[in-house]
Amino acid sequence: MTEAHALAVVGRSLREPAKGLHIAPIRHHSPACAWAVRAMIREVRPKHVLVEAPIDFAAHVDLIAHPDTRPPVAIAALVEDRGEHRVSAYYPFCVHAPEYVALVEARAVGASVRLIDLPAAAMVKRRTKTADAPLGLTDEHAFDSGDYVAALCKRTGCRDGFELWDHLFETRLGQADWRGFLADVGVYCAALRASTPPAQIESDGDAAREAHMGACVLEALADGGDVVVIVGGFHVPALLEAVRDGAPQKPAAQQSGETRSYLIRYGFAALDALSGYAAGLPQPAYYDFLWQRANAPGAEPVWRHTGLDLVSGFAGAMREAGHSISVPQQVEMLRAAEALAILRGRPGPMRHDLIDAARTALVKGELAEHDAWTERLTLYLRGNALGDVPVSAGSPPLVEDARAAARRHRIELGDGARRRRRLDIRRNKKHLAASRYFHAMTLLETTFAELEVGPDFINNVRTELLFEEWSYAWSPRVEGRLIELAAQADRVGPACLRVLEARREELRAGGQSRDIAAMTILFSRGLLSGLGAELEPFLRALCEDVQAHADFAAVAATLRRLFYIARSRGPLGAHDLDVAEATRAAYARLIYLCDDLPRTPADAIAPRVEALRLTTELLREDDGAVLDHGLFAEAVDRVVEAEAPAEIRGAALAISVLAARRDAGELRAALAGQFGGAVTREEDRVAMLRGVLGAAPQLLLQSAEVVAAVDEFLVGLDEGTFIEVLPHMRLAFTALNPREVDQLAERLASLHGVSAGAFAGVHHSLDERDLARGLAIEQRLRASLAADGLSGWLGGEVGA
């Protein structure tokens, strides 16, 4: 028996009416296959319709065929993985999918429906590559690659397996001869299989699935009556073999309990084979259009105006989007599409003819790697349609709650297109509510919405902005994520709380139980999401953590954040929560930790000085006197009295002087003591000044005493020490802004009877290293001259 003969046999054995067997080999999401399947079921009127889909999805069959179901929809399977249910696989149905048509027609003719593939969990677990992305249960790579496809492409002038499929099969959409069509698909797929290495079939795990499907077919046949089997064409030869050999193996025991599945809304964007998500045919809007055209009343031939309508629709959409297509270009695109179709022997423009036509007519100049027009047309042919499921689909309450909330906030969910929304969060209560919803969905990691412009309350960036701008799109991923969370909560708010709690647990488990900064951020996000009073337990836990925290700087930062939250009347506002109380608790902890300041280790000095400054500023802002200012002043006094590191002491003294609790003279004396004291490293002389400037930079401008102390110090320095101290002085003075530096310079200069401008006029393209080197060289030169008794050469100024 030759190979060609063997293939032809497949075509003939698909239907054995005597046995009651009618196999429909299909390609998933193919409208032409759907057309033939429908004709077949209507004519055969079978007792059973068997569909290649996981057997444990049987509960959804009635729902899929429900009149209120509007594809694209998908069954999302949550398979247990490491104790968690994650969305692991999607089985999508679009309106032009043969499987969908089979389910609807089976219902119409009163046939029973059986799903015959292995359970979803078995398929997910067999998957060889360990990818995190969910598995598409309708993937069909066999159609796109392989020697057979390549050879046929070469012969027909098609560029890939998709064009080849369109050329051979989709062109036959709407034809009455379903027998001939299905036989041809059967032969084509048998040839695909014959040219696929057996090892690959084995590694894909097809054998077990085919054995299972074969057993199911035999079981149905044994039941009597006609049986229609809708199965991916690739499996047909194996299925025929199984049926011929008889010996029904009992289908593998159903694994249950580890898979949960839901019927969800699906979208064209996810259905697009090229999105690499759950594959089928690419650009589903195009095939949807063909299907609608084939089903249009009046039985107009499918192809009569296909090109015209698609090109006009595309041009219209582009004009709306601001990409103008002139009428002559539009005419040329249509002409090219029709002419290409005729040249290639097709009844009307197929997908590739349209794409070619767009290139011919619209691209002026050299074709870029990613040509804009090609991409726009591809997106247009992909479409944004989103399906809907009936209320009875039992989609988890969380999903329904999220959708209901979106509708309440007038957020468009009709399709999968990405939209923008501008929210006036400070003046419009409804907008604030919508903003909270977007924040909540973001907190849930649904990928539903993204804040593009707006105040960032978490990082305190641009908080003065009045508007938020969001972009959002409902997609199967959003729904999938909500389904994952569905087990934990049935409304958006509580789901957010669960997520916050889970995060807190993660922090704790990660040994970061004291990461109160991260916890405060979580708390802020909860507030932005509108959780309000529900955050009470979270806030209490945060307070407890603050009470046990040992780091001054971290507590100061948390105090500051809580303080602003307590005062906020904007989106961060929390009227139902006693944040002020929490603020006071944090303040109390801070006061307590002040007594640790004298024992600050070297590496913690800088952040603590900074924390002292921030706390001082905070208290100055606290005009409502939420906090007892006296406590901090007393605590700072205690630090001054104690034996603290010079910087801390300087900072404490400065704060004390600034609060007029101490005389500036005391600070001057302390500074002078440090400047002139016995130090091991010259830089330590500047340490106290560093503390003063770090905690209260304004003091240097306000207090003549401090300026005098600095001036005395500088004047008294000899050259060598000056050079050594200089970089440290510069570093200390970075606490001042340029304007303050100018002011200070003016004051210092006036002490010496000159003007600062006299120095400022000179600019050198030298940096400070050059200066230091120059000074060092000069010094050595002077020393050398002096050693040689040549000081007189220097003009007497030194030698004198």
Partner: protein
């Protein structure tokens, strides 16, 4: 009488195939076309059933689009890097559609509007005054009068005002000849169209006006993507060029592989192993690869009286490709030092290539 020519036009070279295609052509033809669009496609892309050879390699869909463009009111503009067989494609299209690929205007800085419209035989003009006899039609005017495809090579090398003369030719499809009397004009008959080729990136080319761009459908001809394909093509073209020589040294697979690999590496800037390569400014097209292989074959056959080796390729590649750009020589040296040297350790032919090429560079 010498009958041999160096290179006959496509309609003469492939006369038998055109004849065969025409006689078997049952598909509808656009007005003024010698062949149906499908037969044109078969002529260019080959047809196993009728044993018509494949003449243009690469993108089949591109050829479809070109044919379809020429059936309409728009001119066809072929753009792309040098050496991507744009001119060959335009010649083949003209030969198949009009049976005549000789109506060519070669664009250059010296082209004036008369070359696109008409000129005069001045002796006759002085003797007889303006008359049809004294008129010297341009290839464009001839194409319009006889309904043929006209080729304009390197359109962007013409001055912008000369390019703009094409605008009215393409939109009005008529050339007025006022010297022959009021209202005298030649209107294009069906079958007339223009195939222009242009290089958009080369030095010394002029920008095209957008009015002119609107009159053309653009097609970008790319270098051949498939390495095996390119090898096949080089082998075939070298064999064609050697057909008239008495000695026939063969270009074996290894040498072919070497030539094509070197050209592809330098053209694409990345080797098949994924190493990156500095791309020279010189044109590393398939056509240049054929030139190098051809020269190497001649060198081996006539001077060394033996087979082609890596050494011959190395000797030719310098002269043919890296003409006199010191920067390119540097890049080629880097390629030899890093890519070719590593391959030389594993392969004899690469070793010969490497050694000889290094010597050439000195």
């Amino acid at each position: 009488v010498v009958t041999e020519v160096q290179r006959a036009p496509a309609e003469r070279r492939f006369a038998a195939e055109l004849e065969q295609l025409a006689s078997a052509d049952r598909d509808p033809k656009p007005q003024g076309w010698r062949l149906s669009p499908r037969a044109v496609r078969r002529f260019i892309l080959g047809d196993k059933a009728t044993q018509v050879s494949k003449k243009f390699f690469g993108d089949d869909a591109l050829v479809d689009r070109c044919i379809v463009s020429l059936m309409g009111q728009q001119g066809l503009m072929l753009v792309g890097e040098p050496g991507t067989a744009k001119s060959l494609l335009s010649e083949l299209l003209a030969a198949a559609i009009s049976g005549d690929s000789n109506l060519v205007v070669q664009g250059s800085a010296g082209v004036i509007e008369d070359h696109l419209r008409y000129g005069w035989n001045y002796a006759l003009l002085l003797a007889e005054g303006p008359s049809e006899r004294a008129l010297v039609p341009s290839p464009v005017l001839t194409g319009m009068r006889h309904g043929k495809v006209v080729r304009v090579e390197e359109l962007t090398r013409c001055a912008p005002e000369v390019q703009d003369a094409m605008i009215s030719l393409l939109s009005e499809r008529t050339i007025a000849i006022p010297e022959l009397g009021p209202g005298a004009e030649s209107r294009a008959v069906p079958g007339f169209n223009v195939i222009a080729t242009a290089n958009l990136r080369d030095r010394g080319v002029h920008e095209m006006s957008s009015a002119l761009k609107r009159r053309f459908n653009f097609e970008t001809v790319r270098p051949i993507a498939d390495a095996a394909f390119e090898r096949e093509l080089v082998a075939k073209q070298v064999a064609e060029r050697m057909a008239d020589h008495e000695i026939k040294p063969s270009l074996n697979e290894e040498v072919l592989e070497l030539v094509v690999t070197v050209f592809r590496d330098l053209r694409t800037g990345v080797t098949s192993e994924g190493a990156s390569v500095a791309q020279p400014n010189s044109v590393m097209s398939t056509a240049e690869a054929v030139n190098v292989a051809h020269a190497a074959v001649l060198d081996a056959a006539y001077l060394d009286l033996g087979g082609v080796s890596g050494e011959h390729i190395a000797r030719q590649i310098r002269g043919v490709v890296f003409k006199d750009d010191p920067e390119d020589a540097r890049k080629f040296r880097a390629y030899l030092d890093h890519i070719a040297k590593a391959r030389a350790k594993r392969s004899k032919i690469w070793s010969a290539f490497h050694t000889a090429a290094k010597k050439e560079l000195e």
